[in-house]
Amino acid sequence: MTHGFRLVLAIALMAIATALTRFLPFWVFGRGRKPPKAVEYLGYALPPAMLTLLVVYCLRTMNFTAPPFGLSEILACGAVAGLHLWKGNALFSIFGGTVVYMLLVQFAFR
């Protein structure tokens, strides 16, 4: 667990990184200059890859070799996708899927 001075540093660095993404276009392209094509390209090509990478990152501790063989994650992800394709309400899908997962790991596959 990150704590102490390292935690302060981590938060500061992430705050700077976030602020950079927001301020850079205004600093670099503020005076009517057109952004390079490469920046525009990464701006729309990166988000899809980042999001699926993050899904995999979140599931990195999944264990297929011991019961329940990752079934809780698979079922809960299915619930999230199902709810989202059905209702299209982000909050409903997120909280619904999380409740399914919590029920599975707390009661079904203890």
């Binding site: 500061a12 927001r22 980042m50 999001l51 501790t61 994650e73 982000a90 909050l91």
Partner: protein, 236 residues
């Protein structure tokens, strides 16, 4: 006039209120459940103010990821916001002394409100931009405070609650997939993640995956550009 402007801004930001308070609460709650004092989650909501990066931070803190990984992840996760800035250059020109704050607090939702809604004309516009942007961040911080306090005082079994992060990214990916009408860049992210996990293990997964994605996007730029029609998908 002033009161009218507040009412108008509050009304415009209502959907964000209903989105930010529960998600902010969940973030604060997760941080408290992970053992962090409320002021830690509150300062993250005040100074980072980036929903998905903050959620990701909960996991990266638990794993005690390297500082460079945390910096790079926050940067690349929010890089889509560069595109927002590019399209707001004109609107923010002459935004006055609040301009730095307007840029600092430019989230997906604030952006959507600023480009999607009708803005007042004339001298009411400046304060209106500030009101919209500021109200949104206040909802996020208030939600975080509620969640952090609830997490510190309520003792319920939170096992499995961190799945919320997975669900959040999954929902964002589905929404984006609907908008992009393509699957290749999504497959790239998942494939890079699995490969990096196999090669670098849990500790090195993220930096390796980021390098793989950036390399693939640069090497096969022609291919991805043909699949992604710029303009249509820009702005997640």
């Amino acid at each position: 006039m002033r009161r009218e402007l507040w009412a108008k801004a509050f009304q415009a930001t209502l959907p964000v209120l209903f989105g930010y308070v529960p998600l902010g609460m969940a973030f604060g709650f997760l941080m408290s459940a992970a053992g962090y004092a409320p002021y830690v989650s509150l300062s993250m909501s005040a100074f980072m103010y980036a929903g998905s990066a903050q959620y990701l931070a909960v996991t990266m803190f638990a794993q005690n990821a390297s500082l460079l990984t945390m910096f790079a992840m926050a940067f690349f996760l929010n890089i889509r916001q560069m595109v927002y800035g590019l399209s707001l250059l004109d609107l923010y020109r002459g935004a006055g002394p609040m301009k730095p704050y307007l840029i600092f607090a430019l989230t997906d939702e604030a952006y959507a409100l600023l480009v999607g809604a009708e803005l007042p004309k004339g001298e009411a516009r400046r304060p209106y931009l500030t009101l919209i942007t500021g109200l949104c961040q206040n909802y996020w911080v208030a939600g975080t405070a509620l969640g952090a306090l609830a997490g510190a005082y309520l003792h319920i079994n939170t096992k499995g609650m961190d799945f919320m992060l997975t669900a959040l990214f999954l929902v964002l990916a589905i929404d984006l997939m609907k908008k992009y009408k393509t699957w290749e860049p999504f497959a790239l992210g998942a494939a890079a993640g699995i490969l990096a996990l196999a090669v670098g293990g849990q500790a090195l997964m993220m930096p390796v995956a980021l390098l793989l994605i950036l390399a693939a996007l640069s090497l096969f730029r022609g291919f991805f550009e043909a699949r992604l029609k710029p303009g249509e998908g820009a702005g997640a």
